[in-house]
């Protein structure tokens, strides 16, 4: 085994008891025996406190530590109150926006007629074109004699088997429907 290998063993066992093999080698090798002395000196130097450690201001350091501990203790003491305050602020922040007008759901667009009636409003009325759709319904044959009697009109011709035409015009107002009745298609009666 080379001295390099022996030195590894020496460095490992320097703070304890050398094995019998190492002792035998040390007796025979002055270089490795010298290393033992050097390593002992290094260990002594390391174990000696650095000069600066003997003259540090430990009182000031202790004062800083004490101050930091008292500060942490104060924080711990007030932590529940601070947590409660934070929770209250959070709760207010969550509830408060619901009372703000700006965050209300948008109002439905009012009918043009309703808006026009509110002339006091400074904003221009919103024109909503009435929705119209026309559907043509062919009604079953009606009794014209009964119709003349009800309407008091005598000009309603007797169209025989021709069916009258009814036109229903739906407006935007679901309560209003315009109904046009024609005696027959092409007639204006």
């Amino acid at each position: 085994m080379s001295c390099e290998n022996w030195q590894e063993r020496i460095a490992e066992q320097i703070d304890g008891e050398f094995s019998s093999q190492v002792k035998t080698h040390l007796d025979a090798c002055p270089d490795c025996a010298g290393l033992v002395e050097e390593l002992d000196n290094d260990r002594l130097a390391l174990a000696t406190a650095p000069p600066d450690a003997a003259h540090a201001d430990y009182t000031a350091m202790r004062r800083q530590i004490r101050s930091a501990i008292l500060h942490e203790r104060r924080l711990r003491r007030y932590a529940p109150a601070m947590a409660a305050a934070a929770a209250a602020i959070l709760a207010i922040a969550l509830i408060h926006p619901r009372t703000q007008p700006a965050l209300r759901p948008p109002q439905p667009i009012q009918h043009a007629r309703t808006q026009a009636a509110t002339a006091a409003m400074p904003a221009a009325p919103v024109h909503v074109p009435p929705r119209r759709h026309i559907r043509q319904v062919v009604t079953p044959p009606i009794d014209l004699a009964l119709l003349r009697k009800v309407t008091g009109q005598q000009t309603v011709p007797d169209t025989g088997s021709e069916s009258p035409v009814e036109m229903q015009i739906a407006t935007g107002n679901p309560n209003v429907t315009i109904i046009l009745l024609q005696a027959k298609e092409g007639s204006y009666e």
Binding site: L39, P51, Y58, R63, R73
Partner: protein, 198 residues
């Protein structure tokens, strides 16, 4: 400060043991904790000084170690000595401070600590101690971080292999190897850089 000194002196006179101080500190007795600090501060500061290489970092690391001790008073085994626990914490604190400084590009200069001479010693002794420490710090700075910590925990604090392994979060086999390797590297560094100085 007067109250602190009075409390510390009172506890010293009463001969409180470390477990008793620990128990009192757990009951929010700041004076008892202060005395615990006084018991360990010199060793912890010296270790921090060797690991970090400068006074300010060592002070910060020591303060952090004792603050962590105070925060974890309830978790420390009453029967176990707090010395090894503090050593582990101060090693980690030095490591954290070193990383922060490296990020901030404030790496301490290689060449040794900013140690002050001992005013009580003679001029020659002061110069020799200062020179020896400067060389030692320069060599320590060149060791890998973990090897340096393992070596210092063993040689300065006398921790067992198991305690060093626990402090560094490593295995005993690894620590044994790191310590012996660090001893040889340190020796070779002295030979290479300083020749016959040591």
């Amino acid at each position: 400060v007067a109250d602190l000194l009075a409390g510390t002196i009172l506890m010293a006179q009463n001969g409180w043991s470390e477990p008793e101080l620990l128990a009192a500190a757990r009951q929010d007795n700041v004076d008892a904790f202060e005395y615990l600090v006084a018991l360990h501060e010199r060793r912890i500061y010296a270790l921090a000084l060797r690991i970090s290489g400068n006074r300010e970092d060592a002070k910060d690391a020591m303060r952090e170690a004792f603050l962590r001790l105070h925060r974890h008073l309830g978790q420390i085994d009453s029967d176990a000595a707090i010395g090894p626990w503090l050593c582990a914490v101060v090693v980690n604190a030095c490591r954290d401070i070193g990383r922060t400084k490296r990020r901030a590009r404030l790496v301490p200069m290689e060449g040794g600590p900013d140690s002050r001479p001992d005013p009580a010693a003679g001029p020659e002794q002061m110069a020799a101690a200062h020179e020896r420490e400067r060389h030692l710090q320069a060599a320590l700075r060149r060791l890998p971080e973990t090897e340096r910590a393992a070596l210092l925990l063993r040689e300065m604090e006398g921790l067992s292999t198991r305690e060093v392994a626990s402090a560094l979060g490593s295995s005993e086999t690894t620590v044994r190897s790191q310590i012996s390797r660090a001893r040889l590297r340190l020796r070779n560094l002295f030979k290479e850089r300083f020749g016959g100085l040591r």
